[in-house]
Amino acid sequence: MVLTGAEILIQSLKKEGVEYLFGYPGGAVLHIYDCLDQQDDIRHILVRHEQGATHAADGYARATGKPGCVLVTSGPGATNAVTGIATAYMDSVPMVVITGQVPTPLIGNDAFQEVDSVGITRPCVKHNFLVKSVDELAGTIKRAFYLASSGRPGPVVIDIPKDVTAHKAEFKYPSKIDIRSYKPVTRGHPGQIKKAVKLLLSAERPMIYTGGGVIWSNAAKLLTELAGILGYPVTNTLMGLGGYPATDRQFVGMLGMHGTYEANMGMHQSDVLLAVGARFDDRVTGNIEKFCPDARIIHIDIDPSSISKNVKVDIPIVGSISDVLAEMIRVLKETKRKPKDAELKVWWQQIEEWRAMDCLKYDRETTQVIKPQYVVEELYNVTEGDAIITSDVGQHQMWAAQYYKFDRPYQWINSGGLGTMGFGMPAAMGAQFAYPQQTVACITGEGSIQMCIQELSTCLQYSLPLKIVSLNNGYLGMVRQWQEFFYQGRYAMSYMESLPDFVKLAESYGHIGMRIENKADVVPAMQEAMQQKDRLVFMDFMTDPEENVYPMIPAGGGQNEMILV
């Protein structure tokens, strides 16, 4: 069948099972839009800013595990998409981004809306392509989806010049793919796995520390099974939340800069550490010199370059998390040796002592002001712990991570690696498209929400009933907190003056707005909002302006050097 490049693109996306294409039109992609308009299989979602398109596709990917897909025009369309591409890259999110490009004869001439998209995105993609001929198009799309979703996932950009979308070629979508220079490992080394199990069983003060890799590898069930057999405590990174049920007794909370006392102390005093799909990020380790001084470390990761990058490990295992965990469980079930019960009992007593410090306590009962933690806790109650939660970046993000107990993977969606303000609402849109029946709530701050506020318009167009939970403290709270702690309270530019009236703003976009100023109104307001099954509700909670996130490991501190309330 002879088709134009634009038709080939659409047909190829269908072959890849793309349901939604988040995008924004422009000159270089007009042929593609014309084709999109003449079919019904792929739904194009018109955002209001290309950053929104990338975050929405990203949210869709994080909610489903499937690659998100984006279409933007050349030049400013592509540059606007860069923040979202980098966000996805830092958190290993599978995504395919199609950027229009000026026609091939004009490339390099500083043509209208020309930008070197491949050059600009190179450092923040897993891979990218410039399609120079229509004959390469179908094969390139096949490669792009394969690269985005295999191995360690990540965003892939395909830059398509306008003339390529008009040229014709025989369309045949490749059924198989083989890239000689790209062969991600899946099975872990059996010898290393045996060694790891042996070391695990010798542990007296073990800790299981898991990250986003568990979620991307669909290994949450296996992790729960492994932890169940061993009876060891489990902590999650910010990206790993939901990889292990937060309501389980073996879960000691998130670790790292704003992690729980029991998680960080447990890490610090552990003698054997099992790191699974986590990358020893600086927000997790604190001062690397003081990190887990007594621990022998097992590290499972699909990406060899993650191993021994920040922390030297004793038993590295490269492989897909699900394959390796399944093999570990098999070996564990075969061996006659058992975990050291007596020592573990002592270890758990110690952990329970730390837990009893109740490091996340705050003035819940007596205070009259609305505490942000209270809002998140009540959101958890009102949604029965079942909502998909997205967040923006700042204090509210940490409170969301600390107080909403995520019991399943793909339930918690946030920009951990890049920390992109503006991520939350468009990401929630993507998640809502994937799960129209689910409650999707975006926990945000009055600073962050304004970075992609225009997407409220998209939400109206597609009737997305998001629940926006704005913890409005009137400050760029996380910045203010650092200024309070480390700059003697000089609040340089962390005060959000001239805030809009978010109720009116929501209303002007056709949604429901609520301002909640009294603690007593928090729960009723939420209940009312949840009843609005088919409307977006923007809840603007006037929270305690100077509340801080605790515990906190100050930069340069060890894991045992936490500031508590």
Partner: protein
Amino acid sequence: MRHIISILLENESGALSRVAGLFSARGYNIESLSVAPTDDPTLARMTLVTHGTDEIIEQITKQLNKLIEVVKLIDLTEGAHIEREMMLIKVDAGARDTREEVKRLVDIFRGRVLDVSGKTYTIEITGSGQKLDAFIGVLNKKQIIEVVRSGVTGIARGEKALTI
């Protein structure tokens, strides 16, 4: 330590900039880099000289391997290997005594004079980077007009080979 990393990569236009970009983005140093297609026109061979601790070199090789276009690589300095670099150097040879002296040095270094003019010699020298440095060292600094070095290339000794 100095390492010579030899890379087989897809002979595609973007591949070189990906390697170069990786080094600048991650703050690794490149002492020299040479690249050209091999007998298989779809493959290019790149030789990269860099410095770093064992940990840094380990990261460099892992990060290079992660680039989709990198097919295979070895760290030549881990085993016995041959290292060669070519230098073209133009020197001032106007005065009779310097002409003689330069010619003698070229012979000692087993170089060749490729081009002669009334005032200059253009010389080719091949060898390890050290040998080329040494040749530059024995010349009078004022004599040197222009230096062009190819960058190091290398190959493992014996039967070991980097092929697909």
